[in-house]
């Protein structure tokens, strides 16, 4: 039942990604300072924004889960965080490439945005061992939601603390860079952001569909009283 609308959404995502990539390579002007390498900006920044929004969405779904007790919201929360962690890996890799190209180092400790993102990423990476260490399914869902809410409150606080630790030493590169973006770059950036957001939504929907299908399959098997084939104990939440 999660499969509804999956096809048009996938097509729209592919189209948006194609559009954004062609804009990145053929339309957006070369950066005077950094040249071609700057184009990774159109990949890196949207990924980071979408990943962070995904973490926030995970927290919001977790609140919905605790309020309603409906395990559907827990699955939404789980998949949102899961997808954002995957996006987070991409953010850290593209960020390291960009940092190497423009600052000469793979990792720069005095760039607050970078450091905050790493800490947030580490925080959410503990979501998996945390979740799978709890056996009871109801309790697992409830605790995971509490984790998602706590981590959601932690994200802005962490950004603030890290920024304050550096703010006297370093100017806010990102805040000034984005304000002064030329129109063509801004358009390309916004299209890339939209495409990445669509990609996230589509992948989340795909995963939810897969989970709901495997959950249904498991229930049917149980109804037939057949032993499940190759089921692992580390199953992600089931969706009804």
């Amino acid at each position: 039942m999660y499969g509804k609308g999956l096809k048009p959404l996938s097509i729209a995502t592919v189209a948006a990604l194609a559009l954004s990539l062609s804009l990145v390579f053929f339309y957006a002007p070369l950066d005077a300072d950094q040249g071609f390498v700057q184009k990774i900006f159109y990949l890196h920044v949207p990924l980071a924004i979408v990943a962070l929004l995904g973490f926030v969405a995970g927290g919001v779904f977790a609140i919905a889960h605790l309020r309603s007790g409906d395990s559907k919201w827990d699955a939404y929360s789980y998949v949102s965080i899961h997808m954002s962690v995957i996006f987070g890996v991409a953010v850290l890799i593209t960020g390291a490439i960009w940092a190497k190209a423009s600052w000469g180092h793979w990792w720069v400790w005095d760039e607050p945005t970078l450091v905050s993102f790493l800490i947030v990423f580490l925080m959410y990476a503990t979501y998996y061992p945390f979740r799978y260490a709890i056996e009871d399914r109801d309790r697992q869902a409830r605790y995971a939601s509490v984790f998602a809410i706590t981590a959601g409150a932690f994200v802005p606080l962490n950004f603030m603390a890290v920024r304050m630790a550096e703010s006297l030493v370093h100017p806010r590169t990102f805040a000034t860079a984005e304000g002064g973006l030329p129109a063509e770059m801004m358009l390309t950036f916004l299209v890339s952001l939209g495409a990445t957001g669509l990609l996230w939504t589509t992948l989340v929907k795909f995963e939810l569909t897969a989970k709901s299908a495997s959950g249904q399959l498991k229930r049917l098997r149980r109804a037939l009283d057949a032993p499940p084939s190759g089921g692992s104990s580390r199953v992600a939440p089931e969706v009804s």
Partner: protein, 219 residues
């Protein structure tokens, strides 16, 4: 709430399960830092880092044990049966943890000062910064500990989840402590700002704990 708090403190006083271990751990860690860093005196950021990291890791020892008695002796069921507000448990446990942390620091900070510092002038403002940091650590520690104790990998899970959560707290705490332990006596460079960050952290996680703790005891 008072009853649970009193019970916790009485149990700890009678069994002395966590506190001596925490204090001993802290003192031994100072000795290890003495040789690991090869310094006989510390100041500035190094002093703040050594002090905070030691206190944080010693605190994790206590946080790990915070709910163990409840789990092993069935205290959770008793709490669930009792006609009390569940958030009272959170308040009591967080207060108990805060008392442990303060007791730990009562031992560890003077030892740190004797080992590594030239003067004790920085201790009063240091105590204020540590108190605010402890409140935050007590809030997050209670929250994480109550969840970890019901899992398979409880001793593993608490540090794993708590450490990233404590990063902003560590930034603010060391930020406040660092100028206090500077070479030429205590300075108050951005001290108020960092105290405000610590206070904000305390407030946010006390509120989060208050809001979600109900769901952790349900069954």
């Amino acid at each position: 709430m008072i009853a649970i708090l009193a019970k916790d403190l009485r149990t700890e006083l009678r069994t002395l399960q966590s506190l001596p271990a925490m204090a001993l751990f802290a003192v031994t860690t100072f000795v290890i830092f003495r040789f690991g860093l090869d310094r006989t005196a510390l100041s500035g950021s190094l002093a703040a880092g050594v002090l905070w990291v030691t206190l944080l890791f010693a605190a994790i020892l206590g946080i790990n044990r915070l709910f163990v008695a409840e789990r092993e002796e069935g205290g959770f069921d008793a709490i669930r049966l009792a006609p009390i507000d569940r958030t009272a448990v959170f308040a009591a446990k967080a207060t108990a943890l805060l008392v442990y942390l303060l007791a730990l620091e009562l031992v560890a900070v003077p030892v740190f000062a004797i080992f590594f510092l030239d003067s004790a002038a920085a201790l009063p403002p240091l105590a204020l910064a540590l108190l605010l940091a402890d409140i935050g650590l007590a809030a997050t520690g209670t929250l994480i500990s109550s969840m970890a104790v019901n899992s398979r990998a409880r001793d593993l899970l608490t540090p794993l989840v708590l450490l990233p959560l404590a990063v902003p707290l560590s930034i603010a705490a060391t930020g406040a402590i660092e100028p206090l332990l500077g070479v030429g006596g205590p300075a108050y460079d951005r001290f108020g700002t960092w105290l405000a960050v610590l206070g904000l952290y305390d407030l946010i996680f006390l509120l989060v704990g208050y809001a979600v703790f109900d769901f952790l005891l349900e069954d």
